[in-house]
Symmetry: C2
Subunit: 406 residues, 2 copies
C-alpha cells in the first residue's frame, strides 16, 4: 500500500515551483520553472535508486531494475509542464504516483520480474509549443523529431533552443526505449467521478481532437471618421464566426466539444478598426465520423463568412489526434486491481489528450483516473483529495505489480 501522505507532500513541494498567486502553477514547457520542477523530481527519482536517461526530445526515463532485464519495462508517468494558469495535479500526479510506487517497493525491498520505469514526457500541454503531447508523440513516431525541435513559441523561441538552454537535450535516440505496458494515472479533469462519488476511473479510451487556426482579415481604419458601411471590421466578423463555431457542438451532445481558447487581435488599438483577428478552434468527439462532420461544418461556417474583397476568412490545420481506444486487457487489469483493493471504480473516457494516447500506438496502454474538485482543471484552483489520489496510486501499484510480476 502506498503512503498517501508522502505522495501529497511531494505534490505540494513540487507545487512551490512556479506557484501562482491564486494557488496554481505556471511551469510552461521547457522554461526555467519547468527545468526547476524537473530537477526536483529527478532528484527524488535518483534517491529512490533509479537510473536516469534523457532522449533527444528531453523525455526523461527513470528505470528500476527487475530480476529479468531482458523483459521490456512496465512503465508509468506523465508530464510536469503546466498551463499558464494551471493547477497542481494535472500531469504531476501521474509522475509522482509513479515515484510513490517506487518508494513503496524500495521500502518493502521488492524486486519485480520485469523492470519498472517512470517517464516524464516533454511539453504535454501544447500551450507554449504546438503540437500538444509533443514528447510522447515524437517517441511514438507520430510527430517527427525535426518538426518538434523546430516548433516556436509566440516569441519565436524554439523547442531545440529551449532543450539546450534547460540542459535537457539528451542523447537517447527517439523511440529506442520500448515498454511492455504503459499505465498513466491522472486527475479526471471533468465532473463525472466526483458527481458519482467514485474514486477510480478505468479509462477505456480518449476523445479525438482536431485543432485549427482561423485568420480573419479586414482592413484597419480610423474608429472616428470611418462611416459604419465602409468598414471592413475583422473583429465584427470574428465575433459572428465564434458564435457560429461554438454552436457546432450543439447537435453532437453530450460528447461534442468546441473551444476557442486563443485569440489575437491586430493592431489592437482602441481607436483603430481591427484589421486582423487570429483565433484557435479545438474540436473533440468520441466518434471519428462525428469529428469529421464537425470539421466539415467548421469548414462550411468559415466559407460562409468568407467575403473576398471585404473580410476574408482562412482556416488553417494545426493538429489532429483520432479517438483512441486503450488496451482492453490492461483496462481490465485496472478494473480487477480496483476490485481486489475494494476501491469503487467505473469505466470512463477521457476528454483531454494525454501522453498515454500517443503511447498506446507503440505499447499496450491504459489510464487510471481520480476525481478532481468540481471537475475543474486548467485552472489555478484545480484540486483533488489526498484520499482519492492515494486510492488511484494504490490501483497503479497493484496493476504495475500484476503486469511486471513479483
Amino acid at each position: 500500500r502506498i503512503d498517501g501522505q508522502r505522495l501529497w507532500r511531494s505534490l505540494m513541494d513540487l507545487a512551490e515551483i512556479g506557484a501562482t498567486p491564486k494557488g496554481g502553477n505556471c511551469r510552461l514547457a521547457l522554461t526555467e520553472e519547468d527545468r526547476l520542477g524537473r530537477e526536483l523530481v529527478t532528484g527524488w527519482l535518483r534517491d529512490a535508486g533509479m537510473t536516469l536517461g534523457v532522449d533527444q526530445m528531453g523525455n526523461i526515463f527513470a528505470r528500476r531494475a527487475g530480476r529479468r532485464d531482458d523483459l521490456p519495462p512496465v512503465a508509468t508517468g506523465s508530464h510536469l509542464d503546466t498551463q499558464p494558469t494551471g493547477g497542481r495535479f494535472d500531469g504531476c500526479y501521474g509522475v509522482l504516483a509513479g515515484l510513490e510506487v517506487m518508494r513503496v517497493l524500495d521500502h518493502h525491498g521488492i524486486t519485480t520480474e520485469a523492470p519498472l520505469e517512470v517517464v516524464i514526457w516533454t511539453n504535454e500541454e501544447g500551450c507554449r509549443f504546438v503540437p500538444v503531447m509533443m514528447g510522447s508523440g515524437v517517441h511514438a513516431g507520430i510527430i517527427s523529431l525535426e518538426d518538434a525541435l523546430a516548433a516556436k513559441d509566440r516569441d519565436g523561441d524554439t523547442v531545440a533552443a529551449s532543450l539546450e538552454r534547460t540542459g535537457y537535450a539528451g542523447d537517447i535516440p527517439m523511440g529506442s526505449r520500448t515498454f511492455g505496458a504503459y499505465i498513466e494515472s491522472h486527475i479526471e479533469q471533468g465532473p463525472v467521478l466526483e458527481a458519482e462519488g467514485i474514486a477510480v476511473g478505468a479509462v477505456t479510451g480518449s476523445l479525438g481532437l482536431r485543432w485549427f487556426d482561423v485568420v480573419v482579415t479586414g482592413q484597419e481604419a480610423h474608429a472616428g471618421p470611418t462611416p459604419m458601411p465602409y468598414r471592413r471590421d475583422a473583429l465584427k466578423r470574428a465575433a459572428e464566426l465564434i458564435g457560429d463555431i461554438l454552436a457546432l457542438a450543439d447537435p453532437h451532445q453530450p460528447h461534442g466539444r468546441v473551444t476557442c481558447g486563443e485569440f489575437e487581435l491586430y493592431p489592437n488599438s482602441r481607436n483603430v478598426i481591427p484589421g486582423r483577428v487570429t483565433f484557435s478552434v479545438d474540436l473533440r468527439h468520441l466518434e471519428s465520423s462525428t469529428l469529421e462532420q464537425m470539421e466539415q461544418a467548421l469548414r462550411d461556417t468559415c466559407a460562409r463568412h468568407d467575403e473576398p474583397g471585404k473580410v476574408t476568412v482562412e482556416l488553417r490545420d494545426i493538429q489532429r489526434v483520432p479517438p483512441t481506444p486503450f488496451d482492453a486487457n490492461l483496462v481490465n487489469l485496472i478494473r480487477t486491481s480496483s476490485d481486489t483493493l475494494g476501491i469503487a471504480y467505473r469505466d470512463i473516457e477521457t476528454g483531454a489528450g494525454h501522453d498515454a494516447v500517443f503511447i498506446s500506438r507503440v505499447a499496450p496502454t491504459a489510464m487510471i483516473f481520480v476525481p478532481c474538485e468540481d471537475g475543474i482543471s486548467h485552472n489555478e484552483s484545480e484540486n483533488a483529495t489526498p484520499e482519492d489520489l492515494e486510492a488511484g496510486a494504490n490501483v497503479l501499484l497493484h496493476t504495475m505489480l500484476s503486469k511486471a510480476g513479483v
Copy 2:
C-alpha cells in the same frame, strides 16, 4: 505661396523614422522612435530661426517673433506620435505644414504683427497611453497633469518615466503658453473630401467620443473534458456582446460610430476555456443627446449579458470628450482664405479627435482638412496627394497671416 515639394520632402524624411514594412509608421508616443522624430523636426524648426520651449507634458512650442511680442501668438501644430500601424500624414502633416509656413515667411523676409507658433503635442493618439489627446488636454486643463504623468502603457511604463527617458520632461508650467488663435491642419481620415473632389475642408466641429472598457469574467476550464453545459466561457459571451455593441450604431446613422479596437483574452491558451476577456468600446456621435442614448444602450446591453455566478460583465468608464464646435469667425476665415486662393472647399465635421478639440476650450480654434486616399487612416497605407497637402498649407499660411497681421 508655400513650397509643396519641400513640404512633401519633409514629410517623407520624417516617415523614415519608425518606418514599417508596409510603408507606414510606428512611432508610439514617447518611445525612442517618437524621440527621434521629435529631434528631426525640432532641428528643422530651429533652422527656421524659431525659439523652442518644452512644457511639463513634453509639448514643444516653437516661436517666431512678431513685431509686437505683447500680442498672443497665432499658433498651429499637431502631433508626431503614430498608431502601431499608422500612416505618414496623421499629425505629421499639421506640424510640417506649420514648419513650411515659417520657411516661406523666412524666405520672403516677412515679419507678422503677432508672433507665430508651431506646437507639437504629446501623445495625441492615445493608443500607448490613455487618455487620448493627452498633451493638449493637460494644456487646456481638461486632464490633470498628475493623472497624465501617472498613465501606464500595457507594460506598466509611465508617461513620467517616458518623458524623462526621452528628455522631454520640460519646465514650462502647464497652460502658461496662451494663443490668440489655434489653426490645425490635418488629413480628413474619412472619405468625404476625396469623394467630392474638394481640396479643403473647413472643419466646423468634432464628433463627441466616449471610451469604455468591458470586462467579461467566466471560469477557466479544460477544453477537452468539460461538457458544454458546464462551461462559463468568457469568449462566448464577449462574442455575443460585441455583436450587440457594434449594432448600437445602427439606429444613429450616418453620424453614429461604434468600434471595439482592443481585445485581450486570458489565459489565452488553445486548450483552456477562456476565463476572462477585456475589450474596449469607442462610441462617437455629433449630438450629445444621441451619444447619451448610445451610452445608455451600451449600459443596458452589458447589464443584459451580465449573469452573476456564471459569466459577469462589467463596464468601466475610460474617457469622454463632448461634441465640440469650433470658433465660427476662425472657420469663416478659413472659408474666405480658400476663396481668395481659388481653392475649392466645403464645411465638414471631424469624426476623429484632434488636439484642436481640447485647445478650442482655451483659444479660438479651427481646423483645415485635406483629402486622404480612400478615406483610410490609422493604416500603414494612409496616403494623400502632394497637391492637396500644398493647397491645405496655402490656406493655413493665408489664414495665419490674416489673423496675425502683416
